[in-house]
């Protein structure tokens, strides 16, 4: 597959979960899988502008959502994107019970540890999606 995988986090602004989703996406897309991914702006997807709809329609998407409202997954699907994987921060946090990862403005060391560990798993998944193993 040659189309880059679109990694789309919710970037929710009210809770740390949104920042975890955002930083996880940036770690995967800018560092671990830079050659095979891109991060189209979710707000642009929400506008449903024909340019972004056309871009989203090419290749696969991996969404990363902070809370059960699933804003990224629903918005990408609404704009016609093909979602190969829906990552849920609340599921990831089940492995870190009791940990306080920071707030919606800044992560603390525990928050960055969660991002770094989860990013390795998400990057592996993104690689599979890129290679068509989904």
């Amino acid at each position: 597959m040659s189309e880059k995988v679109k990694v789309v986090p919710c970037s929710g602004i009210g809770k740390v979960h949104g920042l975890l989703a955002r930083e996880l996406a940036l770690k995967v897309a800018n560092e671990l899988c830079a050659e095979i991914t891109e991060t189209p702006c979710l707000a642009y997807i929400v506008t449903e502008d024909p340019e972004i709809k056309e871009k989203i329609a090419r290749g696969k998407c991996v969404t990363i959502d902070g809370c059960p409202k699933m804003c990224a997954a629903k918005s990408v699907a609404h704009a016609g994107g093909d979602i190969a994987e829906e990552i849920k921060i609340i599921e990831i946090l089940k492995n870190y019970r009791g940990v306080q990862p920071g707030n919606a403005t800044a992560l603390n060391d525990d928050g960055w540890k969660i991002v770094d560990e989860a990013a390795l798993k998400v990057a592996a998944r993104v690689q599979q999606v890129y290679e068509g193993e989904v």
């Binding site: 955002r22 702006c41 629903k74």
Partner: protein, 146 residues
């Protein structure tokens, strides 16, 4: 007895601030951080926000946001995603802030930034954008006193 000329007390309404938080360029990171700064430090309790994609993922209550609150959108670049999405899906916005106008379009459209890599220079950009939001927010709060 009420004295002549006494005006009834007025209370400022809360002002909505909606950030684009774009993931594709620096302007999106700055819009998000400046909005967060307004919400949690500069106008704590006076500003409210909503996740922009909730206009699609949420219900009627979320979509009524811009009808309920006088709203300022904060956009990273001249695609104006927060303003356009809010006006398409919620209601007319009362004012706008464009990060690209404040820090320059070229800088705003440079690579997206993780908060892990924030520098004092970036924080200076956040401060400038937050100040622009504050001025517009205070003006709107004054205009909308109840």
């Amino acid at each position: 007895m009420e004295s002549i000329g006494t005006k009834p007390p007025t209370t400022p309404v809360k002002v909505g601030v909606i950030s684009c938080s774009g993931e594709d360029c620096l302007g999106g990171t700055i819009s998000r951080l400046a909005t967060r700064k307004i919400l949690e430090r500069i106008r704590l309790g006076e500003a409210v926000t909503i996740c922009l994609p909730l206009f699609i993922a949420g219900g009627e209550e979320e979509r009524a946001f811009a009808a309920v609150f006088p709203t300022i959108t904060v956009d990273g670049c001249n695609k104006w995603c927060a303003k356009r999405a809010t006006e398409n899906l919620s209601g007319k916005v009362s004012d706008t802030v464009l990060v690209a106008d404040i820090i320059g379009a070229e800088v705003a459209e440079s690579a997206v930034l993780s908060t892990r890599n924030l520098t004092p220079e970036h924080m200076g950009m956040v401060d400038k954008v937050a100040e622009e939001i504050r001025v517009k927010l205070d003006r709107l709060a004054d205009q909308n006193r109840r």
